[in-house]
């Protein structure tokens, strides 16, 4: 049986391990290879029982009950369960009134689904740079991209940190356009007492099994502030014969998991706080910034490097990052890049074939740009200087694991000499000069 207790719990850290040689140079590993795997999602006996009970109910009721329970949790007006995060974003855009050929402003740093959902709505994604501190959509960049054909702003609460909703809301209101959230990373994230998914005119959210709030496989949900928007999305599906239906199997698993979501949230917050405190003491690493009043959901945890603070300021930051990445992985920390190129520079937005023969880009050629990575300097700077932890904050009871991650960062930060030698020995290139990656 899979439970939230690991089969082989890690022992608590040993302070002496920090004085050991780096694992990449032959020393001991902070997390041994046999103990590196983390399980997600957590599946308990109760989940199994709840799925068995669900099969005795009408499928429509299982899905509707899930959608209503989660809508109430988020505090949105209306909810439309869907088959995936992408389809939920598509429905959020349609519900918000986006029509073929309209322009929708999206951040250049996000998962590609944000922009593909705009194309799915037969509209044109217009990419803007992100804020240098939060890595969410920069309201000033968004303001500069608005044209007469802009129908919506679509910020992403990237990694689980709510975007600057007050500024974006004011901008949208000033221009009479919609605010559509991509809340796919932001389950339970908040600004004040309000939960992500309830901020905008509409929102879409992924519920796939790798998210902080997982369904049984794939799923998504669209939220709407007004009934009219909800009805617009529902009638769109019927009018176009599109089946975005959620499986009752996925929904039943979600209903079961929803009961434990607040517990998961607390554990992630604890893990983030523990790790953040450790990183702040290293000099080299900085934890994610969380503006006052915001609650970060930590679907991912993006760590910024400051080479200048440990005497490596003369080296290119991307090279220091690559070296640190190698050293951390050797210690057993699954740090990643998670994206290395702005989304507009990925093939689908360079080719712009869309549904075929260039549609819907052909509807509004004036909105189309041939982008280079350099068009998004803040995004590039972030990709050069940051590393990400993904599932690693989410294993609910592995207190020992997060302590060991913290120790691994401490151990690597103590060795600028090893970082410098790696940079000198290797031929690192900037992230975007490698093949574009999403994961």
């Amino acid at each position: 049986m899979i439970t939230d207790f690991p089969n082989s719990p890690l022992p608590l850290p040993n302070p002496a391990d920090l004085d050991d040689e780096l694992a990449a140079l032959g020393g001991g590993e902070i997390i041994p290879k046999a103990m590196r795997r983390t399980l997600f999602p957590v599946i308990t006996k109760e989940d199994v029982f709840n799925l068995m009970l669900a099969q005795r109910q009408a499928p429509e009721k299982v899905v509707a009950d899930f959608a209503e329970a989660y809508r109430a949790y988020v505090g949105a007006g209306y909810a439309l369960p869907t088959a995936s995060g992408t389809s939920s974003l598509h429905m959020a855009l349609v519900g918000a009134g986006v029509r073929p050929g309209d322009e929708v402003i999206v951040p250049a740093f996000t998962f590609i689904a944000t922009a593909q959902a705009v194309v799915a709505a037969h509209a044109i994604p217009v990419f803007v740079d992100v804020d240098p501190v939060t890595y969410c959509m920069d309201p000033a960049a968004a303001a500069a991209a608005i044209t007469e054909r802009t129908r919506a702003l679509m910020p992403v609460h990237v990694h689980g940190l709510p975007a600057d909703v007050p500024a974006l809301r004011a901008l949208a209101d000033r221009h009479g356009i919609a605010l559509v959230e991509d809340a796919s990373h932001a389950h339970s994230a908040k600004i004040g007492d309000r939960v992500a998914g309830s901020f905008g005119d509409a929102a879409g959210q992924s519920l796939m099994a790798d998210k902080n709030f997982p369904l049984g496989g794939e799923g998504g949900i669209a939220f709407f502030a007004e009934e009219e928007s909800y009805e617009r999305a529902v009638s769109y599906l019927a009018r176009h014969g599109i089946d975005y239906g959620m499986s009752w199997v996925a929904a039943a698993f979600g209903s079961s998991q929803l009961k434990r979501l607040p517990y998961y949230d607390e554990i992630r917050a604890r893990n983030a706080a523990l790790l953040g405190e450790a990183l702040d003491g290293t000099g080299l690493f900085t934890p994610p910034h969380v503006p006052d009043g915001h609650v970060h959901a930590y679907n991912m945890y993006r760590i910024t490097l400051r080479p200048e603070d440990v005497g490596l300021g003369d080296l290119p930051v991307y090279a220091v990052k690559e070296a640190v990445h190698e050293l951390l992985v050797a210690e057993g920390v699954p740090a990643r890049e998670w994206q290395n190129t702005p989304i507009p520079c990925h093939l689908p937005f360079r080719n712009r074939d869309g549904f075929g023969n260039g549609y819907p880009f052909s509807l509004n050629p004036g909105a189309v740009r041939d982008h280079r990575p350099e068009d998004f300097p803040v995004t590039l700077g972030m990709l050069d200087s940051t590393l990400v932890l993904c599932r690693e904050l989410r294993s609910p009871v592995e207190y020992e694991r997060i302590l060991r991650y913290a120790d691994a960062f401490r151990k690597v930060a103590r060795r600028p000499d090893a970082i410098r030698k790696l940079v000198e020995d290797r031929d690192y290139v900037r992230p975007y000069e490698k093949a574009a990656r999403l994961g």
């Binding site: 199994v48 998962f111 599109i242």
Partner: protein, 211 residues
């Protein structure tokens, strides 16, 4: 499928700890693909989370997109609406069909092989929703290019998750355009697989009826 059987399948998959379609250790989706290819005699399968996703994949797999025309047996109103949304026109009922369509339910699930044998189009769309676990479908084909394009439509990447979404293009003709998440849940796949397996099982004879 009996409630007891469904419970058994769900328990088995949940106990494995793998419910994610992008999980490398998932065995349910490849298992259903193998079963469908075996039953239909086609070499490749694409699993999707809906009938309309499968229609989209069948057409995109052949490079048929917005502004193109296809031959199809007269589609129902819902399919016509979906094709119109894709921007694909149905102009002829005479030529070779772009895809064949089979909808399975508990009453005909045992006839998948027979129904597939009569299909001649490059792509065979099999709607699995009627089996009762939620929207589910597959595209079966012998055309590796059609399969590769369809896979790209349903997942974000030039290749697949085994390469962690690398978008580097090796084959310039396999150009990703719009991409959806049309992925099927392993839990749903496991239930569908069990339903299809049971549908093919010969009826058991009881002692009372044996002569």
């Amino acid at each position: 499928m009996e409630l007891f059987d469904t419970a058994t399948v769900l328990t088995r998959v949940l106990t494995s700890g793998v419910v994610m379609s992008i999980e490398k250790s998932d065995r349910e989706l490849p298992g259903l693909e193998r079963l469908l290819t075996k039953k239909t005699g086609r070499s490749k399968a694409v699993l999707l989370n809906s009938r309309t996703g499968a229609i989209h994949a069948a057409l995109a797999g052949q490079g048929i997109g917005h502004g193109d025309s296809v031959a199809l047996a007269e589609p129902d109103a819902e399919t016509s609406a979906f094709l119109a949304w894709l921007g694909v026109q149905v102009t002829s009922y005479d030529g070779p069909a772009a895809y064949d369509h089979i909808a399975l339910d508990p009453a005909n699930a045992d006839r998948l092989g027979e129904l597939a044998a009569g299909a001649t189009a490059p792509a065979l769309v099999v709607d699995l929703t009627g089996l009762g676990f939620g929207p589910a479908a597959a595209v079966l084909t012998d055309d590796p290019r059609l399969w590769a394009r369809a896979e790209r439509l349903k997942i974000f990447g030039a290749y697949d998750l085994r390469t962690m979404w690398t978008q580097e293009e090796a084959d310039a003709e396999l150009v990703p355009g719009v991409q959806f998440n049309y992925r099927l849940s392993p839990l749903v796949a496991a239930c569908v697989r069990m339903a299809l397996t049971q549908a093919a099982r010969p009826a058991a004879t009881s002692g009372a009826t044996q002569s």
